[in-house]
Amino acid sequence: MHDAFPCAGAFWMETMKDKAAIVGVGHTEYSKDSGRSEMSLAVEAIRNAISDAGLKPSDIDGIAKFTMDNNDHVLLAANLGITALRFFAEAPWGGGGGPVGSVLLGAMAVATGMADCVVAFRAMNERSGRGTQRFGRAMVREGAAGPRAYMEPFGLFSPAQSVALSARRHMHLYGTRSEHFGAIAVACRAHAQTNPNAVMRGRPLTIQDHQQSRMIADPLRLHDCCLETDGGAAVIITSAERARDLKQKPVYIMAGAFGATDRQTQSVVKFLEQPRSETSVAAKDLFARAGIAHKDIDACFLYDHFTPLVLMAFEELGFCERGEGGPFVSDGKLLWPNGSLPLNTSGGNLSEGYIHGMQNIVEAVRQLRGQAINQVEDAEIALVTSGNAVPTTAMILHR
């Protein structure tokens, strides 16, 4: 088994623990068709985050973006009026590297003095297709090149279809049932009901609804799959020192980790019997660096692209053993307000809006400030992950 690398915990605690903080969050409306450019979504979300922090655009000197995001660093600077950009970076691998990874790049930049205030964001017209191809649709190409040559000729295109293979294997090995996947969808949908910005507000979901929803790629049903959304979300990261003088209560980046293995060569196909996964690699370092235990986490924000991968993430993060994810997620612990480990309290990718996980980071910050709609009582520590089954990133935040 993989062990955290020897000095992971001690070295991080000295160099990075609580050295950076999230001080501003912002977002746009989440919709099925924004009718606007992706640049327009990006700069609105970023402007809102800057304003939330009590900063001015000229205070921002770094931009960390998703590699997949179509918006260019310099064009963003030109819109926002950032006249001296000292740091620009990209986090690869879509929803795996992107959401938490871009924040961690910002955290490292401010902790090392490379930049003073960094924005991390995601903005896309993923549902309307105004600039970004829908992830739930296959790109029509003349031929299948690279790793796709071994998938697409057989009709395997979308992430949902690949995840179905891993979900079926999990069911076979461990007796996991579709209702277990459904428990995750139901929890996220319940949390969206009070969120005015949630795409799925006003459309509650029961486990029976989940079981009756149409099959997409057996065993994945419609409600096991995340939304497709147009919108933008952004966060501002600065040093802990500077954070203490700003408008909002700082949310400190206690620990962060990246993780990948040599097995993600074909989309989001997962191999359950491997001794380690991308998420388990990140998790070991993450908890060693934070110096906390799983029971210390008050709310969790797991990247919810597909319910089976959330279930597997709980296993790989160490909340339960491999194979125990089904019962673990099904006893009500994920449901606010009574559950012991509320999941994605604003609705997540499944029910708030699919802003590639960035909206979950915005919500984690609101929880730790005490500003959430579904406020977890006395929330002190939150876990945030990026997508499981792709090279991934994770962080632990505290107030």
Binding site: A144, R148, F154, L156, Q161, A164, M215, I216, A217, T265
Partner: protein, 138 residues
């Protein structure tokens, strides 16, 4: 038109041509490290076990078992519209448990597919001059 009426044909990757040539002549060829004997999948220039860049192509038995599968009912590609429901499976080859190929199962009803089912390779026309390695119950 071809791009929307059929699933895309494979574009053989530099260094992996022998896999696709093998399919076209009816042989399942796998890349194996010429130094330590470890099979590689997907084909790649270096052995992850011994870092040798030497490899050889071996005709394998074409026998394996179903590792996992899905029945796709929601078409996401234009060519899928007339085909749903169709299966996509992973087949684990007998030669090495790390050889897990994405494929289709033929000669079996979707509802009769089971994980662990023994299968053997069969080469199916995809378009003129291109065959794909699919599997049928053994």
């Amino acid at each position: 038109m071809a791009a929307t009426s059929n699933f895309p044909a494979p574009v053989p990757e530099f260094g992996a041509e022998e896999f696709w040539r093998g399919c076209n002549r009816g042989e399942l060829m796998m890349q194996r490290c010429a130094r330590c004997g470890k099979f590689r999948w997907l084909p790649q220039p270096m052995c992850p076990v011994c870092n040798s860049m030497e490899s050889e192509w071996i005709k394998v038995s074409g026998r394996g078992t179903v590792y996992s599968y899905t029945i796709i009912t929601h078409p996401v590609h234009p060519a899928a519209a007339g085909r749903v429901p169709y299966n996509v499976a992973q087949v684990q080859l007998d030669e090495d448990p790390d050889l897990i190929l994405i494929t289709n199962l033929v000669g079996v009803k979707n509802e009769d597919i089971r994980i662990g089912m023994p299968v053997r390779v069969v080469f199916v026309d995809h378009e003129p001059g291109v065959k794909l390695a699919k599997f049928e119950p053994a």
